[in-house]
Symmetry: C2
Subunit: 78 residues, 2 copies
């Protein structure tokens, strides 16, 4: 049985300047980071941050807070 | 003169599992990180990663690669 992985689109808001700086960094380092797409680059940054927070505040374990409790005040965010 | 800042939506793809883990971490640490929204949380992670790459590979300066040269193979990415 092949398990089908579902990928969801997640969005965030960014100033033009921050976006340009991010894309420059991605283009300049893609041969070093192994990120094949800008999406992969962003995902790697997010996962690194999550792991750092887990180490810093939760002994390296995943947090148990309900992921569905994130407020959805701005509909474009997730 | 008040300068109007333009914010753009940027998107990335994420497995359901990675998304749930991210949202749990965000909810559990929002009082510690100061991220007021999930969007702010993702943006902070991206900017931290960009700064780390600038330090590691470019002496702390911004990269000069053309930000508009990012391939747009998948239309949902940016």
């Amino acid at each position: 049985v092949v398990e089908k992985k579902t990928y969801r689109k997640t969005s965030f808001f960014q100033s033009r300047e921050s976006g340009a700086r991010m894309r420059s960094a991605y283009m300049a380092t893609r041969h070093l980071t192994g990120s094949r797409t800008l999406s992969d680059f962003i995902l790697a940054a997010v996962e690194r941050e999550v792991e750092a927070l887990e180490r810093q505040y939760n002994g390296g374990d995943r947090f148990t807070a309900d992921p569905d409790s994130v407020p959805r005040g701005r509909p474009l965010e997730t």
